[in-house]
Subunit: 574 residues, 2 copies
């Protein structure tokens, strides 16, 4: 996989042509660069080594790069900031493609504070936009994900990722894309192609066929700009966290939340994590204890928490079987009404529910400080003060994220099986792919019904166990009717055998959810060839559109293009 494709007459000429476009420092094919882009949380076997990396600063350069690519018959793989962790990271679907990284195109082209939207380029990160909105006192918030401040908004949106706010279903809050096609033509969607348009970013559909959806999870063009809707700051924001004690409580929990999601009481994406998801946010895998125990066991290879360590971590973190996290937005009266509705619904499930807002956190911080001072003589007080401080810090991060301020701490879970634990300075510059984290995600969608969540859990838990992995589960109430589960396989990437086992496990989980009809909302680069087992009309139609828009197949061959992805050589799994 790490071999260059040999069909290119002259990489030297290609690089020369690219350097002419972007400057020498932004067209690179040295070994270190290629290595860096070939790192993946799925392990080196699953990574692809690019032909070269080029970093344009403007659309005109993207157009010129595409012309060069067509001339040299090189495939280009566009990235925003390349932080598609757990799904292929900065790797192309096939080896030997030319990475076009758009991180330097990071202009916030426009912010309209009255109509609440921004126009941004692919390099704009969620941290950057959040900082801009704050420092310009716009009173607007941008939806953000838990992937930290340095990740691209456009990149995530084009993968149809989702965040935590009422704008968390991100693709529904995009209007007006600008796309460079393989031909070099520039396509503006919606009304944006009318030069005189006054409504390019206000009404996504425009007139005539709506094309935006085509450019998400596809390889039909290079999106160089899009309009993203921003949320007016709510007068009142109340976070709630609820826990239930037993595994099987997940079912009633989802059934209790569904009516609130359906009737609009819960306008934001609600997340439900299992105990290990909570634990992994605050601790790394206790290798020492586990290795000691494993030595004496001599059973099948396992990366699971030994029972004593598990009990200990659960006790220390206070994590229950399931933790719900959601947020209410509105006027004081609206939030009060919503809080009552959430409280009533969750009470029926036996959940313990806590609501908190900025004021409550301030109170908590005050109490922690008081305890700390008061307890100068008492270890018990010190410990309580520290625990409360931690809780307040987590609460602050959650509430900030709900208001569009990203926080790298939520990436901690990705470092669970990293032997070195969290890197120095974490979460500053955290990058799970380059920090050597082993991580793969399978993300099936299921009906928003307790019975389905329990069925999915019952389906995948034995597969994780069989392959010797702990199961990290999140269920996100992504819209009013569907839940998106994110199942995490965390592994020690420095351990080749464990990495291989993780990949077999991932494939088994993937196959199981596909067969059960819980289909993935998004897939990693390795799984793109598995999306069309039946030679379906849907994928034939997608292929015909691809051929119409990019007849040479220049852009990202194999990306959400099952037939082509299958032809790219992947190591056999399973």
């Amino acid at each position: 996989m790490a071999e260059h494709d040999t069909r290119y007459a002259s990489t030297v000429d290609l690089m020369q042509a690219l350097r002419t476009i972007v400057g020498a420092e932004y067209a690179l094919d040295d070994a270190a660069t290629l290595e860096r882009y070939a790192s993946s949380t799925a392990g080196s076997q699953a990574a692809t080594r690019p032909l070269a990396v080029v970093r344009p600063a403007a659309s005109a350069e993207v157009i010129a790069i595409l012309a060069v690519a067509r001339r040299f018959e090189v495939a280009v793989y566009p990235l925003s900031t390349g932080k598609n962790w757990g799904y292929g990271d900065a790797c192309a679907v096939g080896a030997g493609q030319l990475i076009v990284e758009l991180a330097r195109m990071n202009r916030i082209v426009k912010v309209d504070t009255e109509l609440a939207y921004a126009v941004i380029e692919p390099g704009v990160t969620q941290g950057q936009l959040a900082a801009y909105l704050r420092s310009h006192h716009t009173n607007l918030w941008c939806d953000c994900t838990g992937a930290g401040p340095d990740t691209s908004l456009v990149g995530n949106i084009l993968e149809r990722g989702f965040g935590h706010s009422p704008y968390g279903n991100r693709v529904q809050h995009v209007a007006g894309m600008r796309i460079v096609l393989a031909s070099g033509e520039v396509l503006a969607t919606g009304f944006g192609h009318y030069r005189q348009s006054r409504v390019s970013h206000l009404f996504a559909a425009g007139v005539g066929p709506m094309l935006d959806g085509l450019f998400t999870q596809s390889n039909f063009g290079v999106v160089v700009e899009l309009g993203i809707w921003l949320m007016p700051a709510a007068a009142c924001v109340s976070q709630f966290v609820a826990t239930v004690a037993r595994q099987q409580d997940l079912g009633p929990l989802i059934d209790a939340l569904r009516p609130l999601r359906l009737d609009g009481t819960l306008r934001s994406v609600v997340h439900i994590g299992n105990d290990l998801r909570v634990v992994s946010g605050g601790a790394c895998f206790p290798f020492a204890a586990a290795d000691a125990e494993a030595t004496g066991r001599g059973t099948a290879p396992s990366s699971r928490l030994p029972e004593p360590a598990r009990r200990d971590l659960l006790a220390r973190s206070g994590a229950q079987a399931w933790t719900v996290s959601g947020c209410l937005y509105g006027s004081a009266a609206q939030v009060k009404a919503a809080r009552a509705a959430v409280r009533t619904a969750l009470a029926s499930t036996g959940a313990r529910t806590a609501f908190f807002d900025q004021r409550a956190l301030k109170r908590g911080a005050g109490v922690a400080r008081w305890l700390d001072r008061a307890g100068s003589a008492s270890a018990w007080c010190k410990a309580r003060a520290a625990a409360l401080s931690n809780k307040v810090a987590l609460g602050r991060a959650l509430l900030a994220m709900a208001q569009g301020v990203p926080n790298g701490r939520f990436l901690a879970g990705a470092y669970w099986r990293r032997r070195g634990g969290l890197p120095a300075g974490f979460p500053q510059c955290a990058d799970p792919a380059r920090d050597g984290c082993g991580l793969m995600w399978v993300s099936p969608v299921l009906p928003m019904r307790g019975a389905d969540a329990l069925k999915l859990h019952a389906l995948v838990a034995p597969i994780f166990a069989r392959h010797g992995f702990d199961l990290f589960e999140t269920y996100s109430l992504i819209n009013e009717r569907a839940v998106c589960a994110v199942l995490t396989i965390a592994f020690d990437r420095d351990d080749a055998a464990e990495t291989a086992r993780a990949r077999v496990c991932k494939r088994a989980v993937f196959d199981a959810v596909m067969q059960a009809g819980y289909l993935p909302y998004r897939v990693g680069i390795e799984d793109m060839g598995l999306l069309d087992p039946d030679g379906d009309v849907f994928w034939q139609v997608a292929a015909r559109i691809k051929a119409a828009l990019d007849p040479q197949g220049t852009i990202a061959p194999g990306r959400y293009e099952p037939a082509v992805a299958r032809r790219l050589t992947w190591p056999a799994v399973g």
Copy 2:
């Protein structure tokens, strides 16, 4: 325009083939049928006469019809129920096409009461689905428009129409389409193409490129089924109606409502109509008075209300310059909070605002009955009772529509310039196209800003005046950032000169809003050739997709296909 295309070797053979598929009674080319389908609210000059009409009952028949059409090289024009009034009605974009009317495909395939959605065929009308949901005690509501109970949901959705409820932005509440392509292949969008899918109608995007948008406002396929999300019945529904006295109050009104739409207080589409829109809902044009006046005037031809009649109608209807109509949904507490926010916002504009719910209407009806009885001797009481009864009836219809029960009475406006007034039995079986109503719509989208609404009004009002037409305006707050204006040209279709003048006026209005950058969200068949004045990349891309999916151009040539529409012969206008 009414001539058959002569390229078909044998219409007799074609009809024979069609009859074999659907049965003789459902494949028709007799003169009466062709005449009936060639009626348009835009007048006979703007209508196209089809080659024949075929009415399949199932997808398999649609597939067979397409095979026949390809073989005979006939263009097919799919309709749902053909009630696209004001935008082309049941007419194809070009003459001599084979109308495929899908009204007989009217199965409600599935209703899931837990997850709140239905799967419907194109023939399902909003009245039919509403009745089903009521009679099965589903506690679910379907969004509905003011176009009456007999109009197709699918037809309206594919034109990207909008209704009145929180699900009024209809395309956003669709998941999982089934589409017959020109080739006869059946494409299922979203997750629906995976046979084992459990989430086909719960998560529209599926995995891979999202194709749904392609099949709205286009001619890429024949949609034969779709999943439509239903709204759980709200515990509390409160309608509000607000009025302002002066034309220029429209600006502050929109500016006052925008924050409420943006922050989610107003979750449904809010409509603002001008005085004549209100008047035309309760009265027809006073031809006698106007003709008398015109005779003595001898000025330029005008279809406008003479000033005395206008004053009289306004006084009698009580219509103010602008009337806002919207609805609040939720728990009692939520609605109370929203009501307070709306009241405060509208108070700043000087609007008079009234809220009413089912209970208030019951009280009103009681008072009207009492007045009627009490006033047996008093004409004043009788008149008050009648006026109150009318008001209650209108309120009931509005509130019912907000809860998904369509009402034909809102079609009355379409009959404004019909010489015969409302037909007997109205609104039963009302069909403005076949009832001879003269009606055309121009529907520009504008930013949700008072200044833009005033600018648009200032732009179009003189054009209507110049061509001698009264201006009927509605401004609908279609999403959180955009307003869709519907500008109505109402004319006497029995008057050829007036019809010609109306078309010139329509074209002038269309050109003006296009040039001003207030672009139409939807257009009539006559205007489809005007959508691409610049030979834009957008339309080139659309044409490439069309060629990829329908290389023979079998389906609806010209429909949202400007280059082809221009080649179809339309009488010159202007």
